[in-house]
Amino acid sequence: MPIIFSLLAGIIFGAGLTVSDMVNPARILNFLDIAGDWDPTLIFVMAGGLAVTVFGYRLIFLRGAPLIGGKFDLPTKRQIDLPLVGGAALFGVGWGLAGICPGPALADLKTLEPKVLLFIAAMLVGMIVAKAWRDRLSATRALRSNF
């Protein structure tokens, strides 16, 4: 059952990315290019998304629990730290280089464009490397705090 729900969510998400043309890196780059022929469409995409989620989430959280799984799985970190800001800055640089972020990259698999396949492959490598590095760092820290 969770698989059916998440597949449906993925399909609706992918449809939204396609309808809003967020699958088009040229449109993303034109939004980011404030000094050029600026295309503000992305702001409207965020506005549409937030209009639904701000109220939708609020209503759902009133229920106290999701339909299945027992509890809402929400991020617990509160601290604004260097990994958050540094990681986001790095992410922004990568996003600005090609105009592609993870969601649209996967939706763009529909095009079978070689650049999309290579972007995703490189992204997976980046994730694995970063996770290994992060795990090692926290392991070292845990070891230190034991002494």
């Binding site: 698989i3 609706i12 449809a15 939708g56 999701p66 540094g86 600005g96 090609a98």
Partner: protein, 148 residues
């Protein structure tokens, strides 16, 4: 190098709003049904993490749904892909993919997780992350298009 035509996109507020609402609907649906954040980078990362085999199947299903949704909209005749272009060169695209992978992992999220789901919950971390990656991305485009 691409021609200037490839870069042109015309402002599309209505389809932007509608598509954005669909993205929001997907996020709300995932939270209502299985209680999860629709953050694509986190979903991809944790789909690869062997320690969470139980949570792998729903994540893979979500990932498969993304291109399926794109396909569905196309089959319904609602999408013209001729305007879609990938302006970055192949090597640049690979570098970008790697940086996006590292950055979203270290920064705990991407445009969907922080920019939609996090902002919708008024998470201060997501507000900071979203502002940071938009500024960094705009600065990057500025350097590439106007300074280099």
């Amino acid at each position: 190098m691409i021609g200037s035509d490839d870069r042109m996109t015309s402002f599309a507020p209505i389809s932007g709003l509608v598509g954005g609402a669909l993205i929001g609907l997907a996020a709300v649906f995932l939270m209502l049904t299985i209680g999860r954040i629709a953050g694509v980078s986190g979903i991809v990362l944790n789909a690869m993490t062997p320690s969470d085999a139980a949570g792998r199947s729903w994540r893979l299903a979500f990932m498969v749904g993304l291109p399926l949704g794109a396909l569905l909209v196309t089959v319904a005749g609602l999408k013209d892909w001729s305007g879609v272009s990938f302006p970055a060169s192949l090597p640049m695209t690979v570098v970008a993919g790697f940086i996006v992978g590292v950055g979203s992992t270290v920064g705990s999220g991407c445009t969907s997780g922080h920019g939609i789901c996090g902002l919708a919950r008024f998470s201060p971390r997501s507000v900071v992350a979203t502002a940071t990656f938009i500024i960094a991305a705009a600065a990057t485009v500025c350097v590439i298009r106007h300074l280099v």
